[in-house]
Amino acid sequence: MSGQVFHPGHEELHGVTVVVEGASGYTWVGRYHERTDRGVVLHDVAVHDPATASHPRQAWIARLLKFGVRVDAKHLVIPTPETLRITRLTEFDAGS
């Protein structure tokens, strides 16, 4: 384990800003809270919908890295079947 767990008893990613890539093509960036039976719970979430976004995902992520996460939803649950991959924002390779 490389990181600090902010609150003992939680998962390593608890409290960490992550990128969740969805099977639908959506991407979410938010603070990871926990994984439940319903899915991944995120707080303070920015949402990228490829159908409506003004920028491609790579540019959107780059902007988030520089200017911070613009919150579209205070809390979200990403259903487990939708969740393809979870990566720390600072480690995310937008070209992958």
């Binding site: 600090q4 902010f6 409290g15 960490v16 911070g68 996460v69």
Partner: protein
Amino acid sequence: MPYAEMMVKPMREEVSRLGVTELRTVAEVDAALGPGEGTVLVFVNSVCGCAAGAARPALALALQHTVKPQHLYTVFAGQDLDAAARARSYFADYQPSSPSVALVRDGEVVHFVHRHMIEGRGPQAIAADLVAVFDKHCSPQGAARNE
């Protein structure tokens, strides 16, 4: 909703004892961050774990460096709501997060450390980044005036 002041007081003092001036009102923020020259660091303090475990210790380490901003200020997010909001208006291009650190030079934000750049990292790594930023943007003359 703000926490009880008795809980937050040690978190304030951990920063203020570094020589960082706490801004608790809109008027204090405007007086400190209004038009002016020089380098200004604004530390957005927070009750969260990454402020306690990483950001505040990192700030303490970074401020041991000989080169540092001329003016050092802090606001407390979630506690001094109006003051924090006003401070953030001076770096409005950047989304609010806490803890965070803004470095302003001659009225322009030249570097911003978001919460996502703090989470899960140790104080030494964050401090090393801050020191590199100080070396890049803060003149030795600024450091001398700050001592």
